[in-house]
């Protein structure tokens, strides 16, 4: 068990260090997210009421598109120089490797999300959320699901030929419940009106995370050894 935890934290530390030194994901992906938010105004017009109404959906779309880029990197960098095979051989279990990557991706997506949310608040003139804690819980739960399935699908698609097209094609339909729940919970948090309905969406997010965190952790072993 301690060995498992050590492997898990070693993977997390390694990825974090590599990211802090290279700043590859943060520099490109954060800028990409900002760019999309900027471009939204050209595509949708600058009517502040319209943008305010659509803000929750637009926010999660930016997060979805930006995190695809980050998720894709998380295993691609291992594949270069054949690191992935060595990691699978060295690590206590592929599960530690997988969970370490999930945690790294979770923090990456969180940074993307907070930055995008701030950028949207400034550019779209959104007020400070009425229900801040609901927003925070929604962000955390939504990100966990996104990081779990995203990491799993990144590990899956890394072995195929058309990797970059394959990841969103497989991942996006799987994320539809997560997207629905996150968008509506975010909307309720921003408007602060329909707070009763939000607990149903949060429960759905919780169930979603529980099911897929368990299933992905169980299924990752044969996958990484393939």
């Amino acid at each position: 068990m301690t060995h498992f935890l050590r492997c898990f934290s070693a993977i997390f530390y390694k990825d974090l260090l590599s990211e802090l030194r290279q700043k590859e994901i943060l520099n490109t992906v954060l800028f990409f997210g900002l760019l999309i938010i900027f471009i939204y105004s050209f595509a949708l017009g600058t009517d502040p009421n319209l943008l305010k109404k659509m803000a929750p959906g637009l926010l999660w779309l930016v997060v979805l598109f930006s995190s695809i880029l980050a998720l894709d990197r998380s295993f691609q960098s291992e594949l270069e120089e054949g690191c992935l095979d060595h990691l699978v051989l060295y690590a206590a279990s592929p599960r530690a490797l997988f969970l370490g990557k999930v945690v790294t991706n979770f923090f990456t997506i969180l940074i993307i999300q907070i930055t995008s949310a701030f950028a949207m608040m400034i550019l779209f003139d959104l007020p400070f959320p009425d229900n801040f804690w609901l927003l925070a819980v929604t962000f955390l739960l939504g990100n966990l699901g996104l990081a779990t399935l995203g990491t799993f699908y990144a590990a899956l698609t890394i072995k195929t030929k058309a990797r970059q097209a394959m990841l969103p094609l497989l991942l996006f339909p799987m994320l539809i419940p997560l997207l629905l729940a996150s968008v509506y919970a975010t909307q309720m948090a921003l408007e602060g009106t329909l707070t009763e309905g939000s607990s149903a969406w949060l429960t759905l997010l919780g169930i979603y995370n529980l099911v897929f965190l368990t299933a992905c952790t169980l299924a990752i072993e044969p996958l990484l050894e393939a």
Binding site: A162, L180, A200, C216, P222, A226
Partner: protein, 214 residues
């Protein structure tokens, strides 16, 4: 001749059940003849769920047993399931236009079926991009399991999102002749489902043997 008996039986029964549905049942009081689409639409939908359940069980069994048989069965069932889901969506659209006045609406069951279609098309195209059969089997099996786990969650979430689909008719609200025709057609489609999966499995097996021989 002998090997075609199953095919002739299944196709013959299918033709008979469709003929029965079209001619031996009363027309719907409100919808008229358009309602006859039900005898293909509903059985196709039911049987596509059976096909996807077969994908789930075979994928799970592959993960446990590691026999290539289960992988081939999962792939065959997924293909037939996608074909039936596509048929369900097309027929539903044709029925929806005169009945609801629109080709498409964001109702819970429609949307779930469309999402299922995307998920399994993704599964099939994922398989196409891996050449090594052993690797393909190992990678596709977890995917087949995960997709199926998502189905109830997708349905729940979309149902909370919005609902418009007419309440399902139950045998008590339908004319007995309609119920009989619907059941006949459900079994006819089941026969087709088994036949198609069997054919697809045989092709997959021969392809596999060919790959091994090379």
């Amino acid at each position: 001749m002998k090997k075609y008996i199953a095919a002739i039986l299944a196709l013959g029964f299918f033709a008979f059940a469709q003929w029965w549905g079209l001619t031996q049942t009363p027309s719907d009081a409100m919808m008229g003849a358009v309602q006859k689409i039900m005898y293909a639409h509903v059985p196709a939908a039911w049987n596509s769920f059976i096909a996807f359940f077969v994908v789930f069980v075979s994928s799970l069994l592959f993960l446990i047993r590691k026999k290539i048989f289960w992988d081939r069965l999962a792939a065959s069932a997924a293909e037939v399931g996608v074909a039936l889901t596509g048929l369900t969506l097309c027929l539903g659209s044709i029925w929806g236009r005169p009945t609801w006045g629109v080709w498409w609406t964001w109702d819970a069951r429609l949307t779930t079926t469309a999402i299922l279609f995307f998920l399994y098309v993704g599964y099939l195209s994922f398989r196409k991009f891996i050449e090594d059969p052993e690797k393909r089997a190992k990678l596709a099996a977890p995917l087949g399991v995960l997709i199926f786990l998502n189905v109830p969650i997708v349905y729940m979430s979309v149902r909370w999102w919005r609902t418009l689909h007419q309440v399902q008719s139950s045998p008590s609200t339908m004319d007995p002749a309609m119920v009989l025709a619907l059941r006949l057609n459900a079994f006819a489609f089941l026969g087709l489902l088994i036949l198609f999966i069997y054919w697809r499995y045989k092709i997959a097996k021969r392809k596999g043997e060919l790959e091994e021989g090379l």
